[in-house]
Amino acid sequence: MNAVVLIDTLLLLLVTATAVAIVEVRSLYASSILTGIYSLLMALVWVNMHSMDVSFTEAAVGGGISTILLIGTLVHVGREEKPIKKRLHVPALVFTALTGAALIYGTLDMPRFGDPAAPIHHYRVPEMMAQTVGFVNGTPGKQKPPEGFDLERYRRFDGRVTGPIPADPTDTAWREKSILQTEGLIVPQVRAAHEPHAEPGHHLHPPDDFNGHVPNSVTSLLAAYRGYDTMFETTVIFTAGVSLILLLRRPRREGYLQPGAVMSDQVILRVVTKLSIPFILIFGFYVITHGELGPGGGFQGGVVLATAFILYALIFGRAALYRVVPPPVSDMLTGLGVLIYSGTGAVCMLLGGKFLDYSMLNPELPGDGESLGMTLVEYGVGITVSMVMLTIFNQLAEERST
């Protein structure tokens, strides 16, 4: 058995066991903790598939913030589940079984795990991974392919498909050979893709400049190829934050500045927190800034930034947090993030391109312009996400049914 598949099977068994445990446990905080563990394990499954960005998000949002917010909810609803009479509800059972069967039937048509002949490796995606979408069609504002540029080879290289693609993708001999290469976990082409010198340079860039495009294809897809979607995702988060403020925040005269429960009598916690918060903040900014090079980006980095503030509030109380980030400031920053994102798009338009056409930011070196635009946009996302997470935490902690 393939090692990747073996580890995957074991991990998924563990995930299933955790899910059953979450349902079975009566104590609500035990099930909250187990939900965090479920997310961490699910993130491990993504890590095993080498989808680092998904894994990063799952760990930061699912394992970190969600668990803290669930515990915040427990403050309002109490620790124990209400006892209910357990009896078999036949229609529900039949419905669930049917849904499960339909889902399993749906997976029968999916390609094998790690199948290099899967459509995702051939249709459209290699083009997007090589960031040659605008490049191929010669869209105004994008560069033309240079003389003697082997586009086929370039695409195949970045699309991580091993060997020449046969005319007939169902050619089994080729498929088996490629799967064997994948089983070694390191596809030679994947390794080569991390060594920029291995590829001839872009016509406008020195060879060590990641060939003039953003190395992490996930970020380039999120921020450039589907930049509109990401902008509106950020807007959704912004709307959630604003709605929460409107629904839950008490008027100031009722005193939201009452001190919270302080844990500063715990010397070890206090010292460790003070020591680690700067590093958490640096890590958060690193994740945001580094999003175009490695895994991570605005969403994940924003969550990491928010956890630093939440840690501060946990140890030193909410009043101390409000002295650092007063609610008016966090509200303003929430909007500022969305403004930065859409403002970057508007600047691209003013410079003569389309909305969010980052290459306009540096017409001489379009690749650098794209990097700059994506970094700006990621910072916008990061600011909004961190401040909305902080607001959710504050409102949950503030509104207590005493």
Binding site: Y29, M52, T67, I68, M263, L269, L311
Partner: protein
């Protein structure tokens, strides 16, 4: 993947199964918390191991975020148990 690393990974997962049992059966709250914390530590080692096997340095970032998250959630849970509130 060489056999040694594969065995290490499998042992880590089996250890996580045993800890999950402790988290469920644990007579006190603190058993549950300690067990989930240990699962978190195992995941950190597991991610680093996978990163070493596949030769990609980005996995270290993942390990850091796992460490950060297990630390903060544990503090949140303990504060809830001690004070009954989070703020």
């Amino acid at each position: 993947m060489s056999t040694v690393y594969l065995i290490t990974a499998v042992v880590l997962i089996v250890g996580a199964f045993m800890l999950l049992y402790r988290a469920l059966a644990g007579p006190t709250v603190y058993d549950t918390i300690l067990a989930t914390n240990a699962i978190g530590t195992k995941t950190i080692v597991f991610v680093t191991l996978l990163g070493y096997i596949s030769g990609r340095t980005e996995f270290i970032d993942m390990a850091i975020i796992y460490a950060l998250i297990t630390f903060i959630t544990t503090i949140a849970i303990l504060k809830y148990i001690e004070k009954g509130r989070l703020d």
